[in-house]
């Protein structure tokens, strides 16, 4: 472990506590930490996600590196105070680069008994526990099966428990606000945020500005929230309950301008950027689905960029409209999650056959069927690869972090346009809702996608006719002529096409040729992508870990621990899954052992084993949550020590 747990008693790893003075004559210490993991847990209606997002924004603008993990139920409001209604938000922030939201919290804030019960097991012994004592009423305790109050029965002795009447202090602070008690109580999340902001020296102006903006039409609510936020901050400064506050220095980052960004936001902005950089109007056809809807929401706000968003009657119409728009020369996009991809399969096949550009975004969630709508999983990979009738190859790419969703979206559009093909972009719930600081790119530095568009405007046949299925010899992309272009009228469709003319053809040899050609076109994309990215600092690791998508952070964090113990491991993380980078087989063959952690039952491993005959060791988990770095490190360590017992030189910390 690289960090230390914050403690109430003045102690710390990075130096002696620094005394400071607070109003009221209290002498408070400041402890410097290198990283902290905080988990906020409460009822779905307690505003934990908002509180977490605000703390994240404060932390990001302070300059710490961070990763977040929102975790909430699918029910909008499960019965109050029950276990199914618990919503939580975890973030890790540090003075160095962090790769995950943290395996386990150092600090747990529990807004009610249910939140305590659901989360306490994951708070390591000695961790700091802050609870809202007002909510520990007999009724609330009974709801979750506590016979006695854990605040009184000694069961919390293993943790540093600070019991604070958050609710009543909030209502006290707002007694002159004119709000009723119930309404005033709703600001307790802002009181809590204020307290945490004091504890971790967070800048507060951003939150004040945010509240003013958010409630500009209800100034009395804005004022109450701001008052509660300030009261929480001041409480921290004056109470004896907290003797220390903590300082986490900004993390060194590459110079530049940064913002905090979630995966869905980054993906939406990447699509807008792809539209701008290709010169094509962006058209989104989508049907609301968790956890992808935020992309629709975000894109619908960018009409000034010529972005058209169409909320369709169903998933099929969403992709149908996007494909229709692509036929007309737009950059057609559809966004969904796994169940939606199942419904879109036939239209994806039509896009394969008609060879039109189309970006299909699958923000994966737990499956099968409705599964776990708000939880993350990587189990749509094989659906993306093969979930269609016939030989229907589709390129598949995946982002590795929230900010990376931006680049992945641009890359998906590049492939779709340059190769006239539907492209599957596999994000997931963890990337979609998770956030991190993002270095804002310069628009002019983004790939220029305009050359890939190249609408056909002149007949390309020997006899002056237009041949819609005449291909670019290099990319095998077919000629794309759009309606409105004179002299280029042609018909396309789902029936097998004759080579060159695109007319209906039932000829056996033609079907064989066209099937192989469509496959060759997708395989050929490998020529346009970089070689496998291998992270092996010394270049002589014998064990490699390969992953794709959102496992990048946990795998990276695990590799860091492994290297910290003196062992060697190579990390390979794939952006392109279909086709794989051209050298991947060769790269994998270099290692004695290849481990593939996935949040499914081994889908990438299956593809790798099939394609390269490599004996990939699959490590899988489908808990609806990202991997814990410590758990992955143990798996990797085990593999290394088996391959090379002589090199064992200490346990991984």
């Amino acid at each position: 472990m690289t960090g230390t747990n914050p403690t109430v008693a003045p102690s710390g790893s990075n130096g002696a506590p620094v005394p400071g003075s607070a109003p009221g004559g209290l002498v408070k210490s400041v402890v410097e930490l290198d990283r902290v993991v905080i988990r906020l847990a409460g009822d779905s209606g307690d505003g934990m996600q908002l509180t977490g997002n605000r703390f994240t924004s404060e932390t990001a603008s302070f300059g710490n590196d961070l990763k977040t993990l929102p975790n909430f139920p699918a029910e909008i409001r499960a019965p109050t105070g029950t276990l199914p209604g618990v919503s939580s938000f975890q973030l890790q922030f540090a003075d160095h680069d962090v790769m995950t939201p943290g395996d386990a919290p150092d600090v747990l804030v529990a807004m009610n008994p249910a939140a305590l019960k659901a989360n306490l097991a994951e708070l390591p012994g000695g961790g700091l526990l802050i609870v809202d004592s007002d909510e520990f009423t007999p009724r609330n305790l009974a709801k979750v099966g506590y016979a006695t109050s854990p605040l009184e029965d000694g069961s919390l002795e293993g943790w540093q428990t600070v019991s604070v009447p958050l609710t009543s202090m909030t209502t006290d602070a707002l007694k002159d606000s004119g709000l009723g008690k119930k309404e005033a109580e709703r600001s307790k999340n802002m009181f809590t945020l204020g307290l945490l902001s004091w504890m971790y020296h967070r800048p507060t102006e951003g939150t004040v500005r945010f509240l003013e903006r958010q409630f500009r039409r209800k100034p009395e609510i804005a004022a109450a929230n701001i008052a509660a936020f300030r009261a929480g901050y001041n409480y921290g400064e004056t109470t004896e309950a907290f003797a220390v506050s903590y300082e986490i220095k900004p993390a060194p980052m590459k110079p530049g301008r940064y913002r905090n960004i979630s995966g869905n936001q980054a993906l939406a902005l990447g699509l807008v950027a792809a539209g701008q950089r290709s010169g094509l109007p962006l058209f989104l056809g989508a049907y609301p689905i968790t956890p992808a809807s935020d992309i629709l929401h975000e894109l619908s706000r960018h009409k000034a960029f010529g972005v058209r968003t169409f909320q369709a009657e169903d998933e099929i119409a969403g992709i149908g409209a996007a494909l229709g728009a692509s036929f007309g020369g737009a950059l057609g996009v559809t966004t969904t999650s796994g169940p939606g991809v199942a419904l879109k399969a036939e239209t994806i096949g039509l896009a394969v056959m008609t060879e039109l550009p189309l970006v299909i975004v699958d923000v994966q969630r737990g499956g099968p069927s409705t599964g776990l709508p708000t939880k993350t999983e990587q189990s749509d990979l094989l659906q993306a690869m093969f979930g269609r009738n016939g030989e229907a190859p589709v390129p598949v790419i995946a982002p590795r972090s929230p900010g990376d969703c931006f680049d992945a979206a641009v890359e998906a559009a590049r492939i779709a346009l340059a190769y006239r093909t539907p492209v599957m972009l596999l994000s997931d719930g963890y990337l979609a809702n998770g956030a991190e600081p993002w270095a804002i790119p310069d628009a002019a530095s983004l790939p220029d996608l305009a050359p890939a568009v190249g609408f056909a405007t002149e007949p390309n046949g020997e006899d002056g006719e237009f041949l819609p299925y005449l291909r670019d010899p290099e990319t095998l992309a077919r000629a794309w002529a759009i309606p409105g272009t004179a002299g280029m009228q042609h018909r396309i469709g789902g029936l097998e096409k004759a080579d060159r003319t695109g007319n209906i053809s039932y000829d056996p040899a033609n079907h064989d040729f066209m099937t192989r050609t469509r496959q060759a076109k997708i395989d050929g994309i490998a020529a346009s992508i970089p070689p496998t990215d291998v992270d092996d600092p010394d270049g002589d690791a014998r064990v490699a870990v390969i992953g794709w998508g959102s496992t990048y952070g946990p795998i990276g964090a695990a590799c860091r621990r492994i290297r910290g113990s003196g062992r060697k491991v190579a990390q390979i993380h794939l952006r392109h899954i279909n086709p794989f980078p051209a050298d991947l087989g060769e790269v994998l063959a270099r290692y004695d052992r290849v481990i593939c952690p996935e949040m499914n039952l081994g889908q990438l491993a299956l593809l790798l084993r099939a394609k390269y005959l490599v004996d990939v060791q699959s490590h899988t988990q489908v808990r609806g949550l990202p991997f814990r770095a410590a758990e992955l490190a143990a798996v990797i360590q085990d593999a290394i020590d088996t391959v090379n017992p002589a090199a064992v030189n200490g346990a991984v910390q």
């Binding site: 110079p255 007309g328 628009a443 409105g484 272009t485």
Partner: protein, 363 residues
Amino acid sequence: MTTVELGMPDAPTPIDAAIARSLEQHGPKQTELKGKDFKTDQEVRWCPGCGDYVILNAVQSFLPSLGIAREDMVIVSGIGCSSRFPYYMNTYGMHSIHGRAPAIATGLAASRPDLSVWVVTGDGDALSIGGNHLIHALRRNVDMTILLFNNRIYGLTKGQYSPTSEVGKVTKSTPMGSLDHPFNPVSLAIGADATFVGRAMDSDRKGLTEVLRQAAEHKGTSLVEIYQNCNIFNDGAFELLKDPATGPMWTIPLQHGEPLVFGPDGASCVVRDDFGGLRVAETNQVDASEIVVHDATREDPSYAFALSRLSTQDLRYTPMGVFRKVEKPTYEAMMAEQLHEARLQGPGDLDTLLAGGDTWEVR
């Protein structure tokens, strides 16, 4: 050159440029065309005697009168016999997948308001597998013309009953007769608040052309139900209306502004019933003032709906012509207006967008 209003910040877009380049080569858009200009080199492969031939010929010969350049017309179809239509039309076209043509056409029309978008579909395609897309296209009022070829049977899959087949229909899949109550496509469309709904007969070239012309000229979604004979699997389905002996008795011709009088010697007429609907009466039994004068432009769809309910599933008292024709803003016009409005604050600047929200500088 005409710039396509795509709402993009900097014209011309690659779309504009492509159109402009092609016009440089081909000269100005050719809108004075003949019927044969709309034919393709593809062999037409419907069964000999199929009603689709008549419709294809009628469409090809009437299209030139619309003055639309071939390259500005797109025909999207689904799956089924009728959906082969685009292959035979020298325009842009997409033969898509079963039932989805209205959805695909919606995306195309919404993003390219400069095009004339047509959908060709059948009773199985539009009303069974694609029913959802059809009603939603109609309620949105996307500017497109939907030709629904209704032969009351599944032809391409060789003769199963369709959603417009009469109850008790004996087919390969219903040896003891079908149990489903049929849809009346016109009622369905009016129920979905379609702004233009018409009906025509494949063999009635004049009537068909007239309905098609009005449909094509209408801004918004037009639905034209075309009764089409499948001489292989459902021959004679519309004989009651086609036969000169019985046709006039059961056909109610709809002429805007004209009293609804029909039948030999105008013996029958349409009057209001006691429940706000319509009924057929004998002309000599009612006062002339009671006879309903057809008004296709009534905002309230109840009248057009009542009209559509006069016919029974065995086609007695079938109104033919334009049921409803009302003006409403089209979906793509409203969408373009929102884009325009958003750009009044200034065209989008990508750098500004990317740097949106709270940012900080690392030096």
